[in-house]
Amino acid sequence: MSSDNGEPIGERPTQEVSMNINGEPVTEAVEPRLKLSDFLRNYVGLNGVRVGCEHGVCGACTVSVDGDLVKSCMMYAVQTDSAEILTVEGLSEDGSLHPVQEAFHEAHALQCGFCTSGFVMSTYDLLKKEPAPSREQAKEHLSSNICRCTGYQNIYEAVDRAAEKMGGAEDDTAAPEVGGDD
């Protein structure tokens, strides 16, 4: 039982929740008022969940809950008891990139990066439902997320590339890596 910084919550009411996050079981006692976004960031350490508005507009905190895209600032952690949750950290392992992440990199579909987790999750969801989306379908699906840097052009390009990669098509248009710095 702990708060943002690990200190005991004390007398305030808590409720135990158990769920599966990125393939790992998690059980915590949390205040009923705790938002899912804050739970994922502060209790589970998944900082890839970005908090941009806390009122359901910007989409930076988008995660998948039981296969549905959810703005995690609009849900309480206690509502996800026994759920399966996927965040951007769960898309790939050991520092490798999921094809959607690769596509965002190659297409320069991120600048400041604060919206990127949300866009990657939304794109992942789109391609799961529609493996070869049209430009209009991509625009419609991604209209739930705001990017303030890229003007979306390269994000569309990333969606196309990711679709191609996940369809197993050869992709020889990647720019060379600078690499090394992380």
């Binding site: 708060s3 943002d4 910084n5 200190e7 919550i9 004390g10 007398e11 205040e31 008022r33 804050d38 960031r41 502060n42 900082n47 890839g48 969940v49 970005r50 908090v51 941009g52 508005c53 806390e54 009122h55 507009v57 910007c58 930076a60 951007v88 950290e89 790939s92 520092g95 990139l97 992440q101 965002f104 990199h105 320069h108 991120l110 600048q111 400041c112 990066g113 604060f114 990127t116 625009k139 991604l142 209209s143 997320n145 705001i146 303030r148 840097c149 890229t150 003007g151 979306y152 052009q153 390269n154 990647a174 720019a175 060379p176 890596e177 600078v178 690499g179 090394g180 710095d181 992380d182």
Partner: protein
Amino acid sequence: MSRSDAPAASDAAEDADEEGFVGKGLNRVEDHRILTGRAEYVHDIAPENSQSMGLLRATHAHADIVDIDTSAAEAHPDCALVLTGEDIAAEYNPMPCGLNGISEWALAKDTVHFVGEPVALVVAADRYVVEDLIDLIDVEYETKEAVVDPIDARQDETVLHEELGTNVPDSENMHFGEVEQAFEQADNVVENQYSWGRISGVPLETAGAVAEYDDETDSFEIDCNIQLHTLVDDTIYEPLGYDPDDVALNVPPDVGGSYGTKIAIHRYCTLAAIASQQLGGTPVKYVEDRIENLQGGDMHSSDREYLFRLAFDDDGTIRGIDVNFTDDFGAYPRYPVNQALKPLTNVTNAYHIDHLRYNYELVLTNKTSQTAYRGFGVPQHLYALEMAVDEAARELGMDPYEFRQHNLIQPEQMPYKLPTKNMYDSGDFPAALTRIKELVQEEEQVEDGLLDPDIVEQRREEGKYRGVSYTVHVEPGVSGADWTDRQRSDRDSLSDREMDDVEELPEHLRCELLDDGRLLVYLAADSSGQGHQTIVKQLMSDELGLLPTDIDVDYLDSVEAPTEYGSAASRMAVMLSGAADGLADEFIANLEQLAAEHWDVAESDVTYQDGSVERADGEARLSLVDLAGLDTERDADEQLTRAAYDYQHPVYENEEYEEAFTNKYPVYPTAAFAANAPIVEVDIRTGEVEILKFYTLRDCGTQLNPTIVEGQAHGGIAQGIGAALMEEFAYDDSGQPQAVTLFDYLLPSTKNVPEIEMEHTETPSPFTATGAKGTGEGGMIDGPPAITTAINRALEPFDVVADQVPATPDRIREWLRESDAS
């Protein structure tokens, strides 16, 4: 591994070929950590045992604080600290302002001046408890008349700050050329008012600070996402009452956007530092929430009312412009007061105009104070100018394309000195305007194109009016430091100044060789998505004949770095080009000295190339690993495998700029430019504007990384679309903000940003190390005037001029209702 050692199969080595890495669209090194969710933004920094800070904010626009009762909050078992403005004033100093003679406190003292102004701070372990504590504080206010309308504010019936005695704390009426004569002699004059609504950058990451006071050293460490941390650190150490060296500002490598806005987050850094000190050194973290950010986050920007006159002859020649405007700065005249002056750098845009008046007033009202935003006051000016140009063309019955083409500065006039003493370095504006029109005609004025005359006619019958306009715009780059305090200077004595009086700030870069032969380069500037680490790798790879993978790039905090300028003002491409050039020279000279001393030969007998130093006789060679090893044997203060360089300013030595420098007129020595042609469709029944496609031809000189350049242009244009059509911080008559969520302050989404068709030309700057010109603000500068002129074209049958932005559906409907033609 140096480039010469690279295996032939290496992608990067192949890509470098003879020309090097600069100019290549290398993928960014910043991406991987961001994409995997591992990037550490300031919101993610949470030291052990850190406490969370929250702010109670004013609910009135203008009110005296009669009493603050904090007892209930203090009695809460989880409350660590409560402070009010009185507590701050008792021990600390006010925050510096943009003008002399006014004090602003980090927490309001006695009087609140805008809704959202912080009144008290609370600290607790848990952010949710912090919100509980804020609710427990009771403030008694006595409300005062709110000053809301900037035009009325000038009457000084209610004055915001008694120490200033006026709501117009700064103004200047500047004449260049023979403007009165030009207006008298011109065949025609158009005059109109244009209004630019209050907008800002609204980065997706809000402001944040994590401060820790160290009792033993009596100093502060502050992690924060402030922009220009080496330049504006005075806004934090001064209110704390400490020396610069005792307050280290550390900006994480990843900042979630700023666009100028985060230059002014010093209030938060200061308060978190004070709270940490009051708690004996417990780290204190503050993260602004979105409502705080929109309502009172010190980050609104330009809000202008123009009265613009343009004098022109019957043949379409512009004779002069008369620019008058007020800029509503909100409650305090903060740092970006010089946003009012930057338009002097491109005051005639791409036109040759010899005579002009530039007359501005800064006005204070009971609204959130201004900060900087992409373009720094220039988008507003270009919008007003291009509206006036459209009106002049319309009055003559001349095609606005022909009118603009007739007045453009010709390539043979480059470098071109403006009446306001700044210079455009290079560019062919007429060719750009010609090309963009050609491109649109080829692509769209054809069968089934967006401008196919049959389709245009058919759409009109459905109430949808299409229009396209062709405009060309200058994006001034680089700036300088000396002019920025013009408004705090004695303006009458400026003409006596000489170049020795001009104090510029450099761009600092340093490097050190690591034991394994890798090079570590340090940026003093902070970044917020521009890809500076990638750019530095490209530049230094070419300078030293290394591979980008041989180089790491890290950042300096405000104590480690010298006072320098940093990333703003479309500056970094130029400044990093010069800094990398100078740093490499220093570093190579040091390595050659190290090798020469080792071999006991003259320095002229050794040569550095591609990662090693060779003796002239060809008998010996030292690799970077060898050199790093040799250097460890030397005394620490004599080590030679490191270097530092301060790149001064690209035109400091250029006599043509002397008059601008000494008179503190803004100096922006690079002129990137863009020719735009958005195709818009206005639904006259709903007033909605859809941008069907945005054509743009852009030139920022040599492109260091074309992929990054293109991304900057895309993003700038998207922000320009928001400014032109959607975004506005409106206020009601009592000074209550009307846009406090992202449901009210509308950011462009995939639904609003069209396909952008972009072409590039490269006209190198003659003044910069690589030929690069500043870019990054471009689309935000040239997007709004391009879109609003296109709306004018679409609504030409109704004689409508988009004289107010954002051109929202309700405004467009109002124009149409009022127009004679409808």
